[in-house]
Point group: C2
Chain length 378, copies 2
């Protein structure tokens, strides 16, 4: 695993004038770094912040400036430790990160997918891993996050493994949204579940049944696309249609093959839907007690490939922040003006020109098992 | 305008080992350059070729290797010259490029959007520009392309301004697909029309009425997303649903604001739909006889912003070629195996997990003017 990010390599090697060109093409408009208070000593965590800019001053509408924070992190203790210890240690560490984000003025904070646990689905073992599942409203993670949200007046977007005890003990991949007053606004369940290699999640939980809710928080309208849902443009689209201004993409994604997709998909979704997107990945190599195979013909092993971090935020016009680092914990803060969403919509007209009526008819036809694709034969 | 491409700047400045990292993250798998016969002397045209690779050898299906060529070019004579001269000179020049692509073994060739004319819609003048419009079947461009297709046994994808004389003289932005035997397989009309700045096309022609046809050519199933249709994931999706293996995106796009989108959208479409995409842009600054304004409060001027070329091809797994140059004519050839489409679909399961039934219902609801977005209030 290379430890440097692409941005670091570019900054280190490309002369200033050419670096400007490279950044303009690859990252968009020039953006300013934010001056942020440093983390307390002893915390091994990168801290970066940017003012994403781009919005004009409107005459009739005041700017709606908010600060969004995304947090990437790795496990704290080995996966062989008791479940409760693993979770408590992550709670403890990440709470410090969230609180520092709040100190930096963050209004909304989102962590990676299933941030309280390892991505243990590669093992195909149900126990002890399913014990990480908790009640979305009353479980230990939501209980803790409610306290922190209330204490700091921030919105928290928290992706957890949900146990729905009132419904045959079903497991879901769920994201809980807590408003700045500490009230749980609601939850979202992962709409698209991977079925490939070590991302063997479809034997643990099923496709979400809550649609595409947009949460009207104190600091803007937000949606959640969980990890693999990133590959599905229709998933992103429905949040746009439902009015989202920021869509979070808590993820867990490893380097082999997928790193080249990482900078493309969430960024393209921001462009297509004229909203902000926040892509968050975990870091580190997770090691499991028992060896497992990966469906690739290779020998059994105990390590899941390395999660490569690189979390980043994109504006509605496609301008993006540099990524966080690839190997360690990090907090990325972006100051954004939500007014930019509508301004870009007016400028580029993507929503107005999208011809939903055409596509709703075409997709309805296409879902018929007897659908005849529109093919012009030779 | 910077003349160097990002790829050139990276190659010139980043040390070998780090360059590997940068390329892996930004461009995907390592790809080989193709050894191609040089252009005839006197032609000012870049020639590049790559073997995109990535497909495994299957037991029951032979590889389906084809060579795709995309061509970017600028105007030949000033826009003040007679229409016929402007078109003839472009015909002459581009014919040489197509024939050289055939010499290189190309099976399918596609040029940029409206490749026979300037992007004169910025002027908002209907004459003389509408005189570039021609019959899609019997006009001078299709007549010429049919001959070349037949002579070389190649498929040609040709984007022209269409005059539909049999239907109230309506104008369309149309792409004609000619099979390797010289037969016109059919045509596609641009589905999404821009309404911004100098891309004032919506006063010249309307949204296409031909759906999302996939043309089953001698060398694979192909679709066409014309320029601005690139911003619409549903447009790309329907070609995927209809079975496209390669989707061409003939475009005309200028640098200001849009260059940072260029590498994202067609590439994301290749990933989301597990097919090849070919993004083709024109080059050069076009100058018009009469000054015009651009809807941005700036003074009248005669130049349209500079088209930045940078045409590129992406494989279904997100691996992409470097771009052609930013300022001059170019031919890019990619050797691809169409079998990779199905292999990536099997590997990543994006089509199987896309839940079309859910979205056809949701989009149908969303097209109702009384649609109530799914918003969870504070």
């Amino acid at each position: 695993m290379d430890s440097l990010t692409v941005e670091q390599i570019l900054e280190d090697n490309v002369p200033e004038q050419q670096l400007k060109t490279v950044k303009r093409v690859l990252y968009g408009r020039e953006i300013e770094a934010l001056d942020l208070p440093p983390m307390e000593k002893g915390l091994q965590c990168e801290l970066k912040g940017y003012k994403l800019g781009g919005a004009i001053a409107e005459q009739l509408r005041a700017p709606r400036v908010v600060k969004v924070a995304i947090i990437q992190h790795g496990l704290v203790v080995p996966t062989s430790e008791p479940i409760r210890v693993q979770r408590d240690e992550i709670h403890k560490k990440v709470t410090k990160y969230i609180e520092h984000a709040a100190t930096c003025g963050a209004n909304i904070v989102c962590m990676q997918e299933l941030w309280t646990m390892p991505m243990a689905f590669c093992t195909r073992e149900k126990y002890p891993w399913n014990e990480f599942a908790e009640d979305a409203l009353t479980g230990p993670t939501t209980t803790l996050m409610v306290k922190i949200a209330q204490k700091h007046g921030i919105v928290i977007v928290s992706s957890i493994l949900e146990r729905e005890s009132s419904n045959s003990d079903i497991i879901w991949n769920t994201t809980v949204v807590i408003n700045s007053d500490g009230r749980v606004l609601g939850k979202q369940r992962k709409n698209h579940i991977p079925r490939n290699g070590d991302f063997n999640e479809s034997t643990y939980y099923m496709e979400g049944n809550l649609g595409h809710p947009v949460f009207d928080t104190t600091f803007g309208k937000i949606g959640v696309v969980t990890c693999y849902g990133r590959h599905h443009p229709l998933n992103w689209l429905m949040y746009g249609i439902n009015g989202a201004e920021i869509v979070f993409n808590p993820s867990a994604i490893i380097a082999e093959q997928f790193e080249t997709l990482w900078g493309v998909e969430a960024r393209c979704a921001a462009i297509s839907n004229s909203y902000y997107t926040c892509a968050i990945n975990r870091v580190g190599t997770e090691v499991y007690p028992n060896a497992f195979t990966s469906g690739d013909g290779k020998p059994p092993h105990k390590e899941l490939g390395e999660f490569f971090g690189s979390s980043y935020i994109t504006a509605p016009d496609g301008t993006r922040t540099p990524g966080l680092n690839r190997t360690g914990d990090g907090v990325l803060i972006a100051e954004i003006d939500l007014n930019l969403c509508r301004q870009v919509r007016d400028l580029w007209n993507f929503p107005m020109t999208r011809r939903l009526d055409l596509y709703s008819r075409e997709l309805t036809k296409a879902t018929d098992p007897n659908y005849q694709p529109q093919i012009v034969g030779k």
